[in-house]
């Protein structure tokens, strides 16, 4: 589980044109000092728009909708992984969610020696 969440910060979607040509990737998470956090709506939207303009994509709205839907599915899958972990009595790594989104107390120091 720790290994999964170590890599989660680099999770991104691949934006594809309607002819399924691979264009570019858009990151879905931001790193913070307390863990990974899903990216902002505005940034997700802007990152996709940049790709659409860069490659002068036809049917841009359809491609954008598909990319956002893909992003939502990826993140929903992360939620399911977390749920599965909780249901099976596994603990999640501390960087799985920043404390604000868990709404918990936390200890800022990683190691107290």
């Amino acid at each position: 589980m720790t290994d999964v969440f170590k890599q989660i910060g680099s999770l991104s979607i691949l934006v594809e044109s309607t002819s399924r040509a691979r264009l570019d990737t858009v990151a879905l998470f931001e790193d913070t000092s307390s863990g990974v956090m899903v990216t902002k709506d505005e940034k997700l939207d802007a990152d996709i728009e940049v790709i659409l303009k860069k490659y002068a994509v036809k049917h841009a709205n359809r491609v954008k909708e598909k990319a956002i839907e893909q992003a939502k599915r990826y993140i929903r899958a992360i939620g399911r992984i977390m749920l599965h972990a909780l249901a099976n009595r596994q603990t999640l790594p501390t960087n799985a969610l920043p404390p604000f989104f868990i709404n918990c107390e936390s200890v800022p120091a990683l190691f107290v020696v």
């Binding site: 307390s34 709506d41 749920l83 990683l110």
Partner: protein, 131 residues
């Protein structure tokens, strides 16, 4: 039971201590003085800062993906808590008013490791395995 373990989001509500909120948004990269800056700007009071500024800035700016994460955690089955109601939290933690720290201690790894923890993990086991 399984259904009781659906969600860890507790919700952004009045039980969330203001000091904790400031501490936690500091970990997200917000300046530690953001409260004072906001009040000095004249646009916010202490009350509106916590009631509106924080949810608008930290939660409602991420509704697409945060909502999807919540959908995944609830298996999309909690009608009372669709993606647009992220602030309210959902699941047993919210319903049963479980303390913040209890959630983290139960579901998340310990954020700090002390010497005693380390020693407990590396206690040698003699005459186990090998010859």
């Amino acid at each position: 039971m399984f259904s009781d373990r659906k969600v860890m989001f507790r919700g952004y509500d009045e039980d969330y201590e203001h000091d904790d909120v400031l501490n936690h948004i500091g970990m997200l990269g917000f300046s530690g003085d953001i409260l004072n800056y906001a009040i000095d700007s004249g646009d916010w009071t202490r009350e509106t800062f916590f009631a509106k500024f924080i949810p608008e800035t930290v939660i409602n700016t991420r509704t697409i993906l945060l909502g999807s994460l919540q959908d995944g955690l609830t298996v999309g089955g909690k009608e009372a808590c669709p993606s647009d109601e992220i602030e309210k939290g959902c699941g047993f933690a919210s319903a049963l008013n479980i303390p913040f720290d209890a959630i983290q201690h139960r579901f998340f790894a310990k954020p700090d490791i002390c010497v005693e923890d380390l020693i407990n993990v590396i206690v040698p086991q003699y005459m186990v395995g090998g010859e």
